[in-house]
Amino acid sequence: MESKSLKNDQEKYRMIWTRAESARLFGKFDTKKAWEKVDSKLESQHIRVRRLWNLGYAASGVAATLLIFLSLTFYTNLFSTSASTISMSTAYGSRSEVVLPDGSVVKLNAGSSLDYHFDKLTNTRKVDFKGEGFFEVAKSKQAFIIHTSEGLNVKVLGTTFNLSAYPDDGSVSTSLVEGKVELSIDGSEGLFLNPGQMASYDKQSKKLEYASGEVSHQLGWTQDKLYMDNMPLSEVCTRLERWYDVDITLGDQILGRKIHYTGVLQEQSVVDVLDALCQLSSVKYELKGRYITIYGE
């Protein structure tokens, strides 16, 4: 051990001068980058354990909810983990259910995607979301925050709700079943939802407001049902396009706004649904592969 206090100034200067070159080495180690690497390695290990558990869960047949989705063709990108993010997406014509590492369960409707990542430093569960999903968020002290691409933030406080945020829809809607959520647009005041309440964010006017409607109808898709409360044909078509991965053209654009439906549809195939629509109103359809054209009679 060199005795620290006995050095005189001259020796100190000499030390600085001669050791400076070895100090240079420190500039070569990028702590921030290294931390990101270590963090993501730890995170992927965490996910691997959970994923095995999920598979076991599904295999044991407990995941009966999966049966619900059997009537639709199944096409799902399995989990892909890039860095510390866990991603899941469903194509048009398919639905899926995902169990997140924190135990939350999300049912994804057709054409939806979700990126989940746990920010350990801020202790927050973060989800980037597009499409429609039914969330059952596990209760935890860690905040659960969903960001939609439209800039709507949904802060969840342990709860069950439906979120519909398709990029090509005019609005984003949230329906709360249980618990409490806080909705906010970047920089604006929050809107709290209580069970049974719905809110809608209009992308054009950028307004976030309470909406009227029946929450249970918003969840119809999780049971393969389409609830229509005076729903225009154009919207029915959009839903069917997503659900069955088909392409629907209206022979006459006015038709889409003119015809409205009220009722519940629960059909096996898109043909059954179209037949039902034809019975309910004076329209007929033509089917070529996945291309459908609807005409007025």
């Binding site: 620290k4 070895s22 240079r24 420190f26 180690f29 290294a34 350990k120």
Partner: protein
């Protein structure tokens, strides 16, 4: 506020990831510089230290530190580095028959690393222009005339600036109790 190493280790044992992050940020460069003396390869040093930190978190429940925290971290990463070297030599040996050379431990190695780490931090605190000049002189080995030309100024100014930097660094290192 800087928390003492002991508090960070206690935090890690309680699954506190923020403590783990702080310990990582504090020790990563020094352990890399230390391991570099053994394995003589920058990216291998980083790999060794990163893997050491990953194991530290995974085995945090079993963590028992009886000596000083920094002593423990240096000793453990030295072992990790030696293991790496052994594996590496064994791998090469099968091809080239190179004898394995034990790393000769230097009593003052840790003290020197700690000093260099403190010095690097202090250099980072120098005013930008002085820092550039100092780095050119000490890191890049440029002569004072060359630095003066590069900075478009006189040798006298450069001399003056380096002298001022030295005084600043000495004061800074004294505050850090690095001497």
């Amino acid at each position: 506020m800087e928390l003492a190493d002991e508090i960070l280790i206690a935090g890690i044992k309680r699954d506190d990831y923020t403590s783990y992050n702080q310990l990582f940020v504090r020790y990563y460069p020094r352990l890399c510089a230390f391991v570099f003396q053994i394995v003589k390869n920058e990216s291998a040093s980083e790999d060794v230290v990163q893997e050491f930190f990953i194991r530290l978190w995974i085995n945090r429940q079993k963590l028992e530190v009886r000596e000083s925290i920094s002593g423990y971290l240096y000793r453990s990463s030295k072992n990790a580095a030696l293991n790496y070297l052994r594996a590496e030599t064994a791998r090469k040996k099968s091809i080239q028959n190179i004898p394995f050379q034990e790393w000769q431990s230097n009593e003052n190695a840790i003290e020197q690393i700690e000093f260099s780490a403190a010095l690097y931090e202090c250099i980072g605190q120098l005013p930008e222009r002085s820092r550039e000049v100092f780095k050119m002189s000490r890191f890049d080995g440029l002569r004072q005339q060359e630095i003066a030309d590069a900075m478009g100024t006189s040798v006298k100014t450069i001399k003056n600036q380096i002298w001022k930097s030295l005084q600043y660094l000495k004061a800074c290192l004294e505050v850090k109790e690095a001497f």
